[in-house]
């Protein structure tokens, strides 16, 4: 139990709230900020002045809106303030420089051959960071966010287990920081968690407080927002929905258990059932989906199988979370696009009517950039919590 904040804490909270608002919604007039934040004009003016002095926002007079009265000043986030964003995905490495406001200012990408070890992945990422840093002139870096398809210890960013990448107990963030020198504080997170974060703040689930973001590749994870907040569990490892056992007599899973959800809906079962067990990766998944759309019977059966189990597992999650939106990301997006009706039908059988009321099934609005913008959010989080820190 915590006592209420002091006046100074309230001021800092309000600074963060205003900065977060323009970070998420973009340029906003003072008049609108007054309404949205429930603060009076003079308070908004004082907060804006502080943030301007700190170089975090800038103001200019709104162009003639055709309405009478005093023109309102428009507050916009300073995109010269930026964060680095890194993604370690099963098939590729990505890096970006993301401005306050969430726009990608610069980006790099390289394939990641399966089996690539930590040291070999860190080299190209460090190179990307150095290149982007050189190009950034005198802009101000607030830190670096790294999102990985694996389980990350919240306390220190240790990658505890990334089975689909093949890493275990790797201090990836530290290894990277050692290579690249100063890129500000580094925060490491799970790729589904950070994707959920941005789809919730500015994407397909904006304005919804109960959201499940599913991310699939070889494995399946979820970023979960409940009551407006991310659910990550005690150590930061929550959301491992891919290891929910749904078929106890099913296939063995890489985790050592049997019949985990990802043994039915991951990339491997889809490709194998489609007679393409020798391939892997997003392109191969798209190949199956396209073949199914063209009428290829074997591909259709494979998609049907995955759709069936996808609907069942989403039904389970809907019973547990009573969410307003489920977002299908990664390879599950591709499957969803061709099997939506079937997924919904199976979901309807499994989920209780009250739990699935008002539910929306969606694909990500920020597309494949969500994990990058989400990784940057990890780095912005400290700034937004206390802008003058």
């Amino acid at each position: 139990m915590r006592a209420g904040p002091s006046q100074e804490e309230v001021r800092r909270h309000n600074l963060g709230t205003l900065l977060r608002y323009v970070h998420v919604h973009g340029a906003t007039s003072r008049a609108e900020l007054t309404t949205r934040l429930g603060l009076n004009r003079s308070t908004i003016g004082a907060l804006t002045a502080d943030l301007t002095a700190a170089g975090l926002v800038s103001e200019k007079t709104q162009r003639d809106t055709g309405r009478a009265g005093r023109p309102s000043l428009v507050v916009r986030p300073e995109s010269s303030v930026y964060a680095y964003a890194l993604n370690i995905e099963v098939d590729r490495l990505r890096a970006a420089r993301v401005g306050l406001g969430g726009r990608i200012l610069d980006r790099r990408e390289a394939p990641r051959p399966r089996g690539m070890q930590v040291e070999d992945a860190v080299q190209p990422l460090a190179g990307f960071l150095r290149e982007m840093r050189d190009a950034a002139d005198d802009a101000r870096c607030v830190g670096t966010g790294l999102a990985i398809a694996g389980m990350v210890r919240r306390a220190d960013g240790m990658v505890r287990l990334a089975p689909t990448i093949g890493w275990k107990d790797e201090p990836v963030g530290d290894a990277l920081a050692e290579q690249v020198g100063d890129v500000g504080p580094m925060v490491v997170g799970n790729i589904a968690d950070v994707s959920a974060l941005v789809e919730h703040s500015r994407g397909a689930a904006a304005g919804r407080d109960n959201v499940i973001y599913l991310y699939g590749d070889v494995g399946v994870g979820a970023g979960i927002i409940a009551g407006g907040r991310r659910i990550t569990g005690h150590g930061g490892y929550g959301g491992e929905v891919g290891h929910m056992v749904v078929n106890p007599h099913g296939q063995p899973c890489s985790c050592g258990s049997r019949g985990c959800w990802e043994t039915e809906i991951g990339e491997y079962p889809l490709l194998k059932l489609a007679g393409r067990g020798d391939r892997s990766g997003r392109e191969a998944v798209l190949g199956v989906v396209e073949a199914a759309m063209r009428g290829d019977w074997v591909a259709q059966q494979a998609v049907r199988h995955v759709g069936e189990w996808l609907g069942l597992g989403v039904g389970n999650l809907v019973n547990i979370f009573n969410p307003e939106a489920v977002i299908f990301g990664g390879t599950l997006r591709d499957v969803y696009l061709v099997a939506a009706a079937q997924i919904r039908s199976r979901l309807t059988e499994v989920a209780l009517p009250a739990c699935r009321e008002n539910i929306r099934l969606r694909t990500p609005e920020l597309g494949t950039d969500a994990p990058l913008i989400g990784a940057a959010e990890l780095a912005f989080e400290r700034l937004l919590a206390d802008p003058l820190l």
Copy 2:
């Protein structure tokens, strides 16, 4: 996004925090409140004076503690301030008068024959309330909390579906209020949710922020605390873990689906496998558990079956929530006591090592009173949020 609170809002928040502290922890010295709440002595003094004036707490000088220095005043909650608590369980109806501080001051109970309809359940509950009200003298009632083994719409307390009780779309709270007259504002909640609430605040999971409370009878539900807050979902229907499909080729469920968790771990499968399919209720479940402890082979096989599936499903939830504690309530408590080793072993196979680190499996500390004290919490919540309202 909300701006920070005004000074007056902070004061009211602090009043609530202090009152909540003594409500949960009982009589506390001013010195300790100063430490626990992080407020200075004069603020604690002013807040205590306001709460005393409102008749919510009382103070007296602590008896000689053997230490030197000024004796500290001890603040205790006024148990003449109370709430009514009602439980509608599968087998029984219960009512209590619960004082601020969480002590049960008066209680009543009646069996609930299966199939009993709303109007027939409301009569005895209303009678209990009237009797307790007559005995309460001039004490101050803050409201009534009703907990039911069913899905409750958060917005208005409508019982949407209580399959094990056999009710659907019943405004139970309204029906009750009509019968009994003024018992203050009525708040309706799910029995697993409210039990989780009290085990989290003052029971087996005190001080833990990520907790799953499982409640079993004919059906199975969960009250889930994540990041210190109750997870209830968009409409209030979350936590329906009993309808997580774990055995797609298993038994049909009353919900219309097949292989739901409760078809493997609920009261029916246990009794049926033990050759006692003609019985029902907690006593019958205890009969099986005791027979298994005495060495009855058929009962042991039944307990083994339920333990196996209980461990599997808990493993699923652990992968999703990465909790610090799982509490086995209702009939699952009895099963847990005799099958703990087996449950833990199956859980260990299913849950990822990082997700199950630091996990504690527990039985409820508040025992069968948790749903009653929890129901009262629903009624106290408004007072604790703003004591001078």
